[in-house]
C-alpha cells in the first residue's frame, strides 16, 4: 500500500519582479508503506519544496499529493505524520519537555501516556538531562535532536524528514541513522531528503533523485549498488613460485608474502580457479564499485 503519492506536482513561485520560477516540474512518485525512501538532490533542486507541499506549508500550483490516500490539503492527512523541517527552530522560551507536551497534545496522544512518551523520546535522543532547560541555550545539534524528538514523540506511521542529519556531529549522525533503521524494522515509512549520498546508501530501500525540480531517477538502492560493481581487490598469501599459475593477472602491490591483485568483475571466476590450483591462501576480497555518489553525479551532470 502507498504511504505517499505525488501526482504531477507543479509549483511555480513568483518573484518580486514578477518573474516565474518553476520549483517543481510535473513531479510524480510514490513511497510504499514500510519503506525508507531517500530524496536526493543538489541544493535548490526542489527537495524542501516537495516536502513543504506534502506537509501543507505550500499549496501546489497544480497536481496533488496524498498521505495514506488522503489529500494533503486536509489536516487529518497529517495526523499520522511526523515532520522535521530543514534547520528547525522551536519556541526557544520553552523547555524540550514543555514543547514535546505541546506536540503530543496536538497529535491527540492520550493524556496518561504523554509523560511516558516524552521520557522515552528524550532518553533516546540523549536530551533527558536537558529536559528542564529553555531551548534558547541549546546548540544547533541539540535543537536538531529536539526536532527529531518532536517527530518521534507521537509515534507516527510516516516520517517526513528534511535534511535530518544536518548540523549533527558524527555521533549524532550515527544516532539518526540507527533511529531510521529502527523505524524501518518497526514497519514505519520514512521519507527523507538529503544531499549526502552516503546517508542514502546506509539506510534507504529506494532513492529518488531530483534535479532542477524534475525527478530524474527512482531506483532501488541495493540494485544500484550491485549493478555498480566493477571489480575486486584480492589479497593472497603465497610463495613466489606458486604465482606463476596466476600469470595472466598482474600483481598490483606486494608486501612480504602478501600479493594484492585487482580483478575486473568478469575475470573474477577465472582468477579464483587459478588461485585454487596454485594453492595460495585468500586473505582478503574487497568489492570495488561505483558508489551512489558516482551515480548521482552522472545524473546531475
Amino acid at each position: 500500500m502507498k504511504a505517499l503519492e505525488i501526482h504531477n506536482l507543479v509549483k511555480i513561485f513568483k518573484t518580486k519582479k514578477g518573474q516565474s520560477v518553476h520549483a517543481l516540474n510535473d513531479l510524480s512518485f510514490d513511497v510504499m508503506q514500510g519503506e525508507v525512501f531517500g530524496f536526493l538532490g543538489p541544493n535548490g533542486a526542489g527537495k524542501s519544496t516537495t516536502i513543504k507541499t506534502l506537509v501543507g506549508l505550500i499549496t501546489p500550483s497544480s497536481g496533488n499529493a496524498l498521505i495514506n490516500g488522503v489529500p494533503v490539503s486536509t489536516g487529518t492527512a497529517r495526523l499520522k505524520v511526523g515532520y522535521l523541517p530543514e534547520n528547525p527552530a522551536f519556541y526557544d522560551y520553552l523547555t524540550p519537555e514543555e514543547y514535546l507536551t505541546y506536540v503530543a497534545r496536538s497529535f491527540l496522544v492520550p493524556v496518561a501516556e504523554v509523560p511516558r512518551c516524552i521520557e522515552q523520546t528524550l532518553k533516546l535522543l540523549e536530551l533527558w538531562d536537558a529536559r528542564k532547560r529553555q531551548m534558547r541555550s541549546f546548540s544547533k545539534g541539540m535543537v536538531q535532536r529536539v526536532g527529531l524528538a518532536q517527530v518521534l514523540v507521537h509515534d507516527p506511521d510516516i516520517y517526513i524528514l528534511d535534511e535530518p542529519m544536518s548540523g549533527l556531529d558524527p555521533l549524532g549522525r550515527s544516532l539518526v541513522k540507527n533511529i531510521i533503521l529502527e523505524l524501518k524494522n518497526r514497519g514505519k515509512t520514512v521519507f527523507f531528503s538529503t544531499h549526502i549520498t552516503d546517508d542514502v546508501e546506509k539506510v534507504c530501500d529506494r532513492v529518488g533523485i531530483i534535479v532542477k525540480g524534475s525527478l530524474v531517477a527512482v531506483n532501488n538502492v541495493e540494485n544500484l549498488l550491485k549493478g555498480g560493481v566493477e571489480g575486486y581487490l584480492v589479497s593472497l598469501q603465497s610463495a613466489d613460485s606458486t604465482l606463476q599459475n596466476l600469470a595472466p593477472f598482474s600483481v598490483l602491490r606486494q608486501s612480504g608474502t602478501i600479493f594484492e591483485y585487482y580483478i575486473p568483475k568478469d575475470g573474477f571466476n577465472r582468477f579464483m580457479e587459478l588461485v585454487i590450483r596454485s594453492g595460495s591462501e585468500v586473505v582478503l576480497v574487497e568489492t570495488r564499485r561505483k558508489n551512489l555518489e558516482d551515480y548521482f553525479l552522472s545524473l546531475v551532470k
Binding site: G56, V81, P88, Y93, V103, L108, G147
Partner: protein
C-alpha cells in the same frame, strides 16, 4: 486551539519586553502624591490618571504582543513544524489571538485592582464630594481592554500577510490613531456648521467611517470619573459592535493566513 492558547500565554509571561512594560505599572505608586497637587477633585484626578495609565500600558502591550507575536513565529520559522500538525491554521491563529486577548483582559483586571487601591488611598486623604461609582470605573477599564483587543486583531490581520514587522506594528499604530479620530472626523463633516464639503466627499467619508473602527465608542472614562450614568442599551451596543467587528477582522486574518505560503 487550547494548546496554542496555553503556549501563547506562557510565551508572554516569559518575555522580557513584557516584564519591562509591566514594570511601568510602578508609576501607580506616584498617582496618590500627584493627585494631592490638585486642591480640588483629587479623587477625580486620581481616577483619570489611573485610567489613563491603564490605557497606556494596555496600548503598549497590544502593540507589542499583537504586532510581534505572529510575525515573529513566522519570521523565526517556529510555524513550520506547528502548521504541519493536524490542527488547522485558523485554529492556530485564533488560539494565539485568544491567548493574547485573555492576557490583556487579565492585565486590565490586575491593573484595575491596583487602580482601585490607588483611588481609595486618594479618596481616604481627600474624600470626594460625590461617592465613587465603581461599576462605571470597571466598565471603563473593560471597554478599554476591548479597544486594545481590537488593535491586537488588526495587528494579527497585518501579520497574516506581512513579511516584516513594519506592517503589523506601524499599521496597528495607524489604526489606533484613525480609530480614535474617526468619530470626530465624521461629526465634523456632518455638522450643520460645516460648509464647503461636497456630498460625494461626505458620502465617501461616511463609507470610510463605517469601515474603520470607532474607538470613541469604547471610551467611558468621562462617565467613570464624573459619575455620568450610561444607558444599558449603549453598553450593549458597544458590546455587540466589539464582537461583530472583532469577528470580522479575525475572519479576514484567518482567510489570508490560510492562503499564505510558508516558503
Amino acid at each position: 486551539m487550547l494548546n496554542h492558547f496555553e503556549i501563547t500565554f506562557k510565551s508572554i509571561i516569559r518575555d522580557r519586553i513584557f516584564h519591562g512594560i509591566i514594570f511601568s505599572a510602578l508609576i501607580f505608586l506616584l498617582i496618590p502624591s500627584v493627585a494631592t497637587l490638585s486642591m480640588r477633585q483629587a479623587t477625580e484626578l486620581s481616577m483619570t490618571l489611573s485610567l489613563s495609565l491603564i490605557s497606556f500600558i494596555l496600548l503598549l502591550l497590544s502593540l507589542f504582543l499583537g504586532g510581534t507575536h505572529l510575525w515573529r513565529d513566522i519570521e523565526r520559522r517556529y510555524t513550520y513544524p506547528v502548521l504541519s500538525w493536524p490542527s488547522s491554521r485558523s485554529a492556530y491563529l485564533v488560539g494565539k489571538f485568544s491567548g493574547i486577548a485573555a492576557f490583556i483582559f487579565l492585565v486590565a483586571l490586575l491593573l484595575g485592582g491596583v487602580a482601585v487601591l490607588t483611588v481609595l488611598i486618594t479618596a481616604g486623604i481627600y474624600p470626594p464630594e460625590r461617592p465613587i461609582v465603581w461599576n462605571l470605573f470597571f466598565l471603563s477599564i473593560f471597554f478599554d481592554a476591548c479597544k486594545y483587543i481590537l488593535i491586537v486583531a488588526f495587528a494579527f490581520l497585518f501579520s497574516s500577510v506581512a513579511t516584516s514587522f513594519f506592517l503589523p506594528v506601524f499599521g496597528s499604530i495607524c489604526i489606533y490613531f484613525v480609530g480614535n479620530a474617526s468619530q470626530q472626523v465624521h461629526d465634523y463633516i456632518n455638522a450643520p456648521a460645516t460648509i464647503g464639503i461636497s456630498s460625494i466627499t461626505k458620502n465617501m467619508a461616511t463609507f470610510v467611517y463605517y469601515i474603520l473602527p470607532n474607538f470613541s465608542a469604547f471610551d467611558f472614562k468621562i462617565n467613570a470619573v464624573y459619575r455620568v450614568p450610561i444607558q444599558v442599551s449603549g453598553v450593549l451596543m458597544t458590546g455587540v459592535y466589539f464582537v461583530v467587528y472583532l469577528c470580522m477582522v479575525i475572519s479576514v486574518a484567518t482567510l489570508l493566513f490560510e492562503k499564505r505560503e510558508m516558503n
